[in-house]
């Protein structure tokens, strides 16, 4: 059976011995060297570089985000071959833009970089997909779409993942989505019971269509009468 050659993290020459960071300042400090390289390579597409709690944020143009991440992934001087996370942030202050965030790691150079692209208010929620660069982006982007409604263009199968595909109440992690959902618990229960499960599950997969009929008569009557579940 064939054996793989082991890939070692931190294989680049001349790296310092990694140590637990101490006395990290709130703002400022040493930026990730990749930030300077990005500025030299992409110029105005790099809007801002900031260092927060020792982590370097690079805020980039959304239109160039894919190209920038592809360069970070492929260029041997950067070699960000590992995608940790794709996520988004919406602030409580409605005037602030929504941020789409990629957490990238370079195993070779032991670097961590946060790439951000902003979606201004009123703009369509669209970001480029990095699925063609990192296969691991598949479910991360689907979750981000599921929770925020951000469409990742170029993703081959952008569907809801944690919520079901017919979920129509919106996107839960948006700030305009109430914590307990849009309907009362009684209404949510009614909708769940009235749903046609076969619309979600093919007959081959699973069928729980008769679940409502299996409930005891008195419980069905109580649910029909609109009884709340204690909320």
């Amino acid at each position: 059976m064939s054996e793989f050659t082991v890939i070692r993290a931190g294989s680049a020459a001349g790296l310092p011995v990694p140590a637990t960071p101490k006395n990290v300042p709130h703002r400022g400090g040493d930026a990730n060297p990749s930030a300077e390289a990005l500025k030299a390579q992409f110029g105005a597409a790099i809007r801002r570089v900031e260092v927060v709690w020792g982590e370097t944020n690079v805020i980039v143009e959304m239109a160039k985000a894919h190209e920038i991440i592809q360069w970070l992934h492929g260029d041997p001087s950067q070699s960000y071959e590992y995608l940790s996370d794709v996520t988004a942030v919406e602030f409580r202050d409605r005037a602030l833009p929504i941020e789409v965030i990629w957490h990238l790691r370079s195993l070779k150079f032991r670097r961590f970089l946060r790439v951000k692209a902003l979606i201004e208010k009123g703009q369509p929620l669209v970001a480029p997909s990095v699925f063609d660069i990192y296969k691991g982006a598949d479910w991360l982007e689907r979750e981000c779409y599921d929770m925020f409604g951000i469409r990742f263009e170029g993703h081959p199968d952008l569907r809801r993942i944690l919520l079901w595909e017919q979920y129509a109440e919106g996107f839960p992690l948006r700030k305009d989505f109430p914590l307990r959902g849009r309907f009362s618990r009684a209404e949510q229960l009614r909708q769940a019971l009235a749903a046609n499960p076969e619309a979600r599950y093919s007959m081959e997969e699973l069928s729980v269509a008769d679940a409502y009929a299996d409930l005891p008569q008195d419980m069905r009557a109580r649910i029909k009468g609109g009884e709340s579940t204690g909320e």
Binding site: V6, V24, K135, D138, R160
Partner: protein, 435 residues
């Protein structure tokens, strides 16, 4: 003459004939009273190209929770696998936006519930980064003890349940017995067994009680023996080896590209461990090895996890030896409550207690991503603060979510029974995947 053998063969069928009736194997008399079993050509039913769709889960013991896999099979070979998740989704991240930092810690128990103490500490590390706090030396070592103990119990659950999936029952009992010992230690430390909520921003919920280290020392002494016994029973077991070697192979480049982490990544031959490469809690000062596999199959994942448990024991021994005296919590009134006797007798301490509990500590605006080496892989907590007592965004980077996303790639071309072994090797916890 109809012997038992010929009757059995005569009764067996090979399928439905053109007339719609079961086709019999024709008996051909030969020497020695034996039978020739070749069926004449043309009566084998044509099964080529007919695919079957089968559903595993969401309620199935081998899916380790409410995972549902829809498999398209060609005979017994998996052609396509479509995972469905989300049955356990409860919106942890949304709830976190409505909770103070210390109030989020109980939620971290519940995302990866086999690694509670590790999650508690990882979250506290993230929040402390936002507050600019560095914990005391004693707390640092206690946290290392907590993290390594929870790594051991998580791997023990993995080993026990995977052995059951593949058909061995004994290692399950042995590993759960040892897990019980660790839960007893947690119970002695923080009072809870499963949902520990062991950490606080700036320290721990409690210092270890007197005599607790003796229990830990006893565990560190006896646990490697249990591990050796499991090793003897499983590692060279013919069934185990046959079910796991060469199954679900991921090459190192694929593993990195799919974002795998933890034992999944290391079994594929990538020497990356957050404790070594992006250290936290002074892990760089401990002497331990990172096991790396070279085949990337289920068997190597097993070997990596077994060795990680031994290395955790080594770290525990060093942590016991170096545990310093001193306070557990930092001396920082922004996050730490005053002593109870002062809060009930002094006005200032009472106000301080009230403000800290009712309003909550407020970090400066900013953001922090803290990743730790959890048993399943790189567990990250990303927190964004706008200066208020509740985070604007609390993101969990779940390692088993990303690891599970590679399952279609791993199972395709394997047999249906291998799907169970591959799924078990990922070490999923649905609480963490669905959140």
């Amino acid at each position: 003459m109809a012997t038992k053998r010929t009757v059995e063969v005569e009764l067996s069928t090979t399928g439905i004939g053109p007339d719609g009736k079961p086709q019999r194997i024709p008996l051909v008399a030969g020497g020695d009273g034996g039978v020739a079993l070749q069926a004449p050509p043309g009566i084998e039913p044509d099964l080529e190209g007919e695919h079957m769709l089968i559903n595993i889960g969401p309620q199935h013991p081998a899916t380790h929770g409410v995972l549902r896999l829809v498999l398209e099979l060609d005979g017994e070979t998996v052609v396509r696998c479509i995972p469905h998740i989300g049955y356990l989704h409860c919106g942890f991240e949304k709830i976190g936006e409505y909770r103070q930092y210390n109030q989020i810690i109980p939620w971290t128990d519940r995302d990866d519930y086999l690694n509670c103490v590790g999650n508690n500490i990882a979250f506290a590390l993230g929040a402390e980064k936002l507050f600019g706090i560095e914990v005391t030396p004693r707390c640092t070592v206690l946290r290392v003890i907590g993290m390594e103990l929870s790594r051991i119990i998580s791997h023990l659950v993995w080993m026990g349940t995977t052995c059951i999936d593949i058909g061995a029952y004994t290692p399950f009992l042995w590993s759960f017995q040892e897990r019980e010992n660790v839960y007893n230690l947690f119970e002695g430390w923080v009072g809870a067994r499963l949902t520990t909520s062991a950490s606080r921003v700036g320290g721990m919920a409690a210092d270890i009680p007197d005599g607790w280290l003796d229990g830990l020392k006893a565990f560190v002494r006896t646990f490697p023996k249990t591990l050796d016994e499991c090793d003897r029973v499983v590692t060279k077991n013919g069934i185990w080896v046959g079910r796991t070697v060469g199954i679900g192979v991921m090459s190192p480049e694929e593993a990195i590209n799919y974002g795998l982490s933890g034992p999944m990544l290391r079994a594929s031959g990538v020497d990356y461990d957050v404790r070594k490469d992006f250290p936290y809690l002074d892990y760089e000062t401990y002497d331990f090895e990172v096991p790396v596999g070279v085949h990337g199959d289920v068997y190597d994942r097993y070997l990596v996890r077994m060795e990680e448990m031994r290395q955790s024991v080594r770290i525990l021994e060093q942590a016991i030896a170096r545990l310093p005296d001193g306070p557990v919590n930092v001396d920082d009134p922004r996050v730490i409550l005053p002593p109870k006797h002062k809060a009930t007798s002094e006005m200032e301490s009472m106000i301080h207690h009230f403000k800290n509990v009712m309003e909550g500590p407020r970090p400066a605006p900013g953001e922090a991503y803290v990743a730790v080496e959890a048993p399943k892989g790189e567990k990250g907590y990303y927190m964004v603060s706008d200066g208020s007592a509740k985070p604007v965004r609390w993101r969990i980077r779940p390692p088993s979510y990303v690891n599970l996303s590679a399952i279609p790639k791993m199972v395709e071309g394997h047999l249906l029974s291998d799907v169970i072994a591959i799924n078990a090797s990922i070490d999923i916890v649905m609480g963490e995947i669905d959140r």
